[in-house]
Amino acid sequence: MNSIRARLIIALTILVALVSALAATVTYQRVLHETSILFDYQLRQMALSLRNQVSLAPRIEVPADQGDADFVVQIWDSFGTRMYLSRPGLPMINQTVLGFADLSVQGEAWRAYGLQTADGVIQIAQPVRVRGTLARGAAERVIVPLLLLLPLMLMAVAWTVRRGLGPLQRLASEVQRRDARSLKPVVSEDLPIEIRPLADELNRLLLRLQAAFAAQRTFISDAAHELRSPLTALRLQMQLLDRAPDEAARLEARARLGDAVARAIHLAEQLLALARSDPQEAVGQVEAIDLSAVAVEGVADCHALAVTRQVELNLESSPTVRIAGEEESIRILIRNLVDNAVRYTPSGGRVQVRCAQTSGGALLEVRDTGPGIPAADRKRVFDRFYRHAQGHESGSGLGLAIVKAIAERHRAQIDLADAPGGGLQVSVRFPRSP
């Protein structure tokens, strides 16, 4: 049974029973031992006192037995004739041993003491049963209060446990009141120290959840607002197409409508890429991949744009550069970096992509001859929907956020720096593949 209360009660009952049994046994043994010593002493003292009387007056009248005394006194003369027997009705003890002896008479155990005198032998005997009865009595007196105490103890346990578990119940009902909208921490100050770690951990979890939910809400709100721009452009161009006064205007509106659609599609794709590259998500198909081969594909994806914008784009790479990762994600990372570099580089400029094996792992470097990013803005450029102050490009504002998310997933480190000779240099360092 998985109940703290039941377990405590069972354990306590067993414990009290064991303690009672042990106490009773020990008491019985000790009392038996002590009464034995005491009674033995008594036997001997009686024998000695009788010897003095008998030697002074051999014919002395030994007082008649009262009938219920435990002791049996016998006196023999030096010829072995029994001169005195205190309780004639009892079975005869027809033997005598000097000193202490355990005798058995008709199935009953006796303890006897024999004493040699000048005229004969005096024997005092007592049934052993008397000693046992005394010891049992003492043991009972110990065990009974303990047993009487048991129900009281059980009640006390039940009460203490219920009181002790009260804070847990309160905590449970507090947690029950939490949901996605109210994730405020539970009160943990007045909780017992045994439960507080649980509440503290719970609070930390709630805070993390709160942050995650807030980030999610912000992202959705931002994404919705960002979607409005391409949609506005779409709607505008559609209406302009409708009302174009002549063929030339119609053709232009048509072309711009196509651009607006492409832009909306691009934003949707980037949003999807960002959602898929969430660092919280488990990494999918991790395999040993050749970074240089993926870089060739990623750079090729941006070739057309570079030609249109008259930017020289080239790739310099070692034959094979091994990293562990998801091929598709890495390709998206490279494409976003190169696409960004090409877009921000004025025509006639140059974008260089380099990838190499290093001692610590692998390095991907994208260097352009564009305006660069001021050091103060370098942290913020990875924010979602962040755009350059001078940005004349209507990108999604998600490119670098995607790059960052993918890099985090691959435990890669990104650094932004001024390229030698102006422009931006982005370095992505991948850890050594295992």
Partner: protein, 219 residues
Amino acid sequence: MRVLLIEDDEMIASGLQTGLRQAGYAADWMRDGRSATAALQSTTYDVVLLDLGLPQRHGLEILRELRRGGNSTPVIIVTARDERENRIAGLDAGADDYIVKPFDLDELMARVRSVLRRAAGRGDPRITHGDLCLDPATRTVEQRGIPVRLSAHEYSVLEALLQRPGTVLSRAQLEDRLYGWDEPIGSNAVEVYVHSLRRKLGSELIKTMRGVGYFVPKP
């Protein structure tokens, strides 16, 4: 009518500019806060379309500065931010109207006409002058109830002159109303339009003040 378009998104701005020009407005486009402020200082506009999320300077800052400087040019905020607080902040900063992206071009044009009307202190959307009646919404003109066909530029010149009868407008002022900065201006275009307006509507309507410009006398 000259419109200043302050918008950082090229696609939206170029679409709006085309739409405005097709409707007969001269439209200048500024893509960031700094050049927008400069344009507002150097040129008189009839209406400003203002996006809020601008690089360098926030749209509201531009608006507040404009109003603090005593400029009461009608401003319509055109933005993707539709939260109540944003609308309140925008209107309280001095905007005359607020429209949320993605907007309908016809609705935006109607709002432009509406703020222009209010700026001119008229309630009736139509402009009447003697036997003439202009409808800015449809950009049509009637004389004694009979429609008169005017080109877009002819209409713009007539509208400019009729908005403040008695005020003399120079040739340069009229050109400002007709062309954005990046549009080519014909050498004596204004004279050509005035001439054809006189031909279509009667020679008594538009008077010339020699060496100064043109005006329509108060009725």
